[in-house]
Amino acid sequence: MQARTGFVSSPHAARVNSVDWVMLQVCLALVPGTLALVWFFGWGVLIQMALAVVFAVAAEAAVLKLRGRPVLPAIRDYSAVVTALLFALTIPPTLPWWLTLLGILFAIVIVKQLYGGIGYNPFNPAMAGYVFLLISYPVATTTWLPPAVPELLQAQDLTTLSFLDSVRLIFTGVLPAEHTWDAVSAATPLDEMRTKLDQGMTIDEIRASSPLWGDFGGRGWEWVANWFLLGGLYMLWRKVITWHIPVAFLGGLLITAGAFWLLDPQTHPFPAFHLFSGAAILGAFFIATDPVSAATTKRGQLIYGFAIGAMVFVIRTWGGYPDAVAFSVLLLNIAAPMIDHYTQPRVFGQKRSAKAG
């Protein structure tokens, strides 16, 4: 009697996990936040996501083909899809299509595939693609829409775009005749805060100056953050990610922001403002947790997350850009291997002080 010849080495038990499952869980976890974004910022969000996914998968397939690698397994792990989705969620919903393409090409071709494909890229591809655009096309990349909050729209005489308007804007760059750029775009809360603070206003004055402000961050924006938080909790529950990076990230942001807020609450916004503005929540749960480019030891992840959080505050407060998640993540990507090296866990049976390598 002969058994079939299959894989040989132990363990012989079924595998309990797979990359595509993990990636699909991430996609699933993005749903609530995405819906919130669409709710507040219109169809442009979905159009960008669709574009990004198509571009990313096509780019990945093309590069793999050129490299002579099997295309299907790599496409089927959905990692390109996740990269594309995260990229699409960070860019403004009205970004011209060719900029989306450019950003995706940079992310997939240069940052991911030229380094050897999934698992080998030292940088988070989505963030690298975004930063590439941000540096090359700063205006287009920072022109955001106002959130669809009626009071706000009325107060500032703003409008939202219909689906067709969005399509036209993305593909032709032409605004519908009845709208002006001023009417359809608005500064993000982070922008606004930064500008007004630079003008010497106090926090109280700033908050009183505009109906933009919600409970913690900007209206609309903070709800998007809440829904992304929900998705993040889902991933924690499904054990797609562990708590270390998100908690350390948010902790790092809160602690540094809190320290400065305590020093001077009139020139530094309440820490929760930082938490619920910009890409902080999205970054903490979805972007900084990208396993490939993050630290992998548990202690290392705490350091890594905390440092990103602190860096986000520093750049938001003193840096040249209003938001900083992408920069901070990329900076810490560079440091990740070193962090890993110095935070190896104590091996079973070794003395507490013993450290390898």
Binding site: M1, Q2, A3, R4, T5, G6, F7, V8, S9, S10, P11, H12, A13, A14, R15, V16, N17, S18, V19, W21, V22, P73, D77, S79, G116, G117, I118, G119, Y120, T242, P291, V292, A294, T296, T297, K298, Q301, D340, Q344, P345, R346, V347, F348, G349, Q350, A354, A356, G357
Partner: protein
């Protein structure tokens, strides 16, 4: 504190890092009682079913053997005999395929059974073992062929002899059986709890340990109840020894531990029960603990209280590809095919046959292999139970593997460096702390066969280490040869010179004669002493008479300057490295002897002597790594010295990973190489002699 308030009835338990919850699949095979497997027409008994030196056959083809009769005797201290599992005729002594990861063949005694199952004359039972010397009991255990039955197959008598410098306070009995599917220990504990407790008493006595902790996973409530009752009954027993036995029973505590793979790993179980960690590369005895499997305890009871050698064991036959999974009491040497047939045979849907559990067991390509002392399970898996994980994808560094690693390693880094064949780096990342439990591979989303990479890296490292040692050995031998030739040359010249001197002046006849006689006498004395020193060296002891070079160097003996000084040079150089040698040299009588030898014209620091001295020191160093000889067991000391002499070469002490009795490096290496899939490229020569992996310290829960 809080714990005891919350759980007043439970013992305090500790955790180990990681681990995975797996579907335990034990219900397949543990529903009914164990069944005596039918006596097969032919038994195939491998001569080596243990870690250590192979045993030597005592029978020849055509001999009639009786059940329990020794078939082979142990060779060396770390070795074990094998016995005839039933009566019959020796049909062959030849290589047969054995259950080994690489499908190797190894010498086996093949017995055609006669069905009578007649017992040989057994050694007498030793019911009053508590009055006996532990050394005698160990000898009984050794002669009964008992090896670790949890999978490690390390000779139990050796494990029960940690030596006087390692006092043992706790005996840990492993009834965790953490691997999915396997239930043989479960059934053993249910059915033979009293015997296991007897075995524990014997081992407690041998070790002089204060207490015994029996760890059983909480998915085996019947076994826990049975063991608790057996331990309880012991304390209720009457008779002359009631007091002491009650004392012993108090010491035996059956502890329910949470089900979590691999809590049955030796080091993990010890951590759970005692909170102590066995040092990395170390053995439990270093922290005062000895760990034995429940099957071993039962075998010890059989051996000591009934005189029966280890010829039978519980084996689980399970998996969804067999018709009737259950547990059997199986004679060692029964072909697995017969056992599977007894279980109704395999269904058509067999994906693979595994010896051991799904996590650490190894695949066999054929069921024409015998059951050995360490084979706890025959697993017939369907494709649904053991699906092909598909082609591995790149590591995405998700760290899931590190989360579950019970050794708290970074499997992803190990994998990275193992793949790059960077053997130094993998060792930096503590490759040799990996117990090959498979947790990392099971959770890896990229389906990378991680354990395979680690085995490969281990094999490569061992091979490299062996090469290095061989090279050093060769270099050393070459140097020794050079030195010897040089010395001979010098002696020849010296003789010539002396002859000339004797011929030239012829005055003062009487004086000269007397001087010559004296010189001759002294020469003889010196030679004798040298000879003594040599034998001392051979026994692995530092030889004080041997270390002449050191004083010779610091304080040139009169005759030394005479022969070409350049020639004497090699001696000090060689004597330098071993610090152990320098000490006796300085203190010993060498200086005086150096002067005695001087009139002879022979330099005191003869290179060859220096070399032997240095080797003695090296052996000493090597012995530091091997357990110290025990005074009450002379044979052991001799055996060990022999082993050290035969096997230890200068490079050994530097090896970072081979220390400890549990892992004879050469066997383990051969083992691992047998297991690696690259085996075809580097088939180990000695692998066939060993059927266990370097998991000696891990056990197979």
């Amino acid at each position: 504190m809080l714990f005891s308030v919350l759980h007043p009835h439970r013992e305090r338990l500790w955790h180990f890092h990681g681990g995975v919850h797996l579907p335990d699949e034990k219900h397949l095979s543990n529903a009914g009682p164990s069944v005596a497997a039918p006596l097969p027409a032919q038994l195939v008994v491998p001569l080596q079913q243990h870690i250590g030196a192979p045993s030597q056959p005592l029978v020849s083809v055509g001999d009639r053997v009786l059940r329990g009769q020794p078939l082979a005797r142990p060779q060396g201290y770390v070795s074990a005999p094998v016995h005839a599992p039933s009566s019959g005729t020796v049909a062959a002594i030849e290589p047969r395929q054995i259950p080994h990861p690489s499908g190797l063949s190894a010498p086996c005694v093949v017995i055609d059974t006669d069905g009578e199952d007649a017992w040989a004359e057994l050694p007498p039972p030793l019911p009053d073992f508590e009055q006996l010397d532990p050394a005698d009991l160990r000898e009984r255990i050794r002669q009964s062929g008992i090896v670790g039955m949890g999978g490690a197959s390390f000779p139990s008598s050796v494990k029960l002899n940690p030596g006087p410098d390692q006092p043992i306070h706790t005996l840990v009995i492993n009834g965790a059986e953490c691997e999915p599917y396997i239930t043989c220990d479960d059934l053993l504990m249910r059915e033979r709890a009293a015997d296991i407790v007897d075995g524990i008493r014997v081992m407690l006595h041998i070790l002089g340990a204060e207490r015994c902790l029996v760890g059983i996973e909480d998915n085996k409530p019947e076994a826990i109840a049975a063991m608790r009752e057996a331990a309880q009954q012991l304390s209720g027993q009457g008779g002359g020894q009631a007091g002491r036995q009650a004392g012993r029973a108090q010491q035996i505590r059956v502890v329910e531990i949470p089900t979590l793979y691999p809590s049955g790993g030796e080091k993990q179980l010890i951590k759970i029960l005692t909170g102590k960690e066995v040092p990395s590369h170390g053995i439990p005895a270093q922290i005062g603990i000895v760990c034995q499997n429940v099957g071993t305890a039962c075998a010890v009871a059989d051996a000591v209280l009934r005189g029966r050698p280890l010829i039978e064991r519980y084996v689980t036959v399970t998996g969804r590809a067999v018709s009737e999974p259950r547990n059997y009491r199986v004679r060692i040497g029964m072909p697995a095919a017969d056992l599977v047939a007894a279980s109704g045979g395999c269904t058509g849907d067999l994906e693979k046959l595994v010896v051991g559990g799904p996590m650490m067991g190894f695949r066999i390509d054929t069921d024409a292999v015998p059951i050995t002392k360490a084979a706890n399970c025959i697993l017939a898996l369907t494709p649904a139970e053991s699906p092909d994980p598909g082609a591995p994808q790149p590591c995405i560094r998700c760290g899931r593997c590190a989360e579950v690693c019970p050794a708290n390693l970074l499997p992803q880094q190990l994998y990275w460096h193992a793949r790059a064949k960077d053997l130094d780096k993998v060792q930096d990342y503590n490759l040799f702390d990996c117990i090959e439990c498979g947790c990392c591979a099971v959770v890896c989303p990229s389906h990378i066969p991680l354990v395979q990479y680690y085995r490969y890296a281990k094999t490569e490292s061992w091979a490299r280490e062996r090469e290095k040692r061989a090279a050093e050995h060769a270099r050393e031998r070459h140097a020794a040869k050079e030195a010897r030739l040089e010395r001979l040359e010098r002696e020849k010249k010296a003789k010539l010179r002396k002859k000339k001197a004797a011929v030239a002046p012829k005055g003062g006849k009487d004086d000269d004669k007397q001087a010559a006689i004296k010189a001759a006498r002294e020469r003889a004395a010196a030679k004798k002493q040298a000879a003594q020193g040599e034998s001392a060296t051979a026994a692995g002891k530092p030889a004080p008479g041997r270390a002449e070079p050191a004083p010779g160097r610091t304080e040139p003996a009169p005759g030394r300057a005479e022969p070409a000084p350049g020639r004497a040079e090699p001696a000090p150089g060689r004597a330098e490295p071993p610090p152990g040698a320098a000490e006796p040299a300085a203190a010993g009588p060498a200086a005086a002897k150096g002067k005695v030898a001087a009139p002879d014209g022979k330099p005191p620091g003869a290179p060859e002597d220096a070399q032997i001295a240095s080797r003695a020191a090296e052996q000493q160093g090597a012995q530091g790594a091997v357990p110290k000889p025990v005074p009450d067991d002379a044979r052991r000391a001799v055996d060990e010295a022999a082993a050290a002499g035969a096997d230890t070469s200068p490079g050994r002490p530097e090896q970072p990973f081979v220390r400890g009795t549990d892992q004879p490096p050469d066997q383990a290496a051969a083992q691992a190489s047998g297991q690696t899939d690259q085996q075809t490229a580097q088939q180990p020569s000695g692998a066939g002699t060993d059927e266990e992996r370097p998991r000696a310290t891990a056990g197979r829960g």
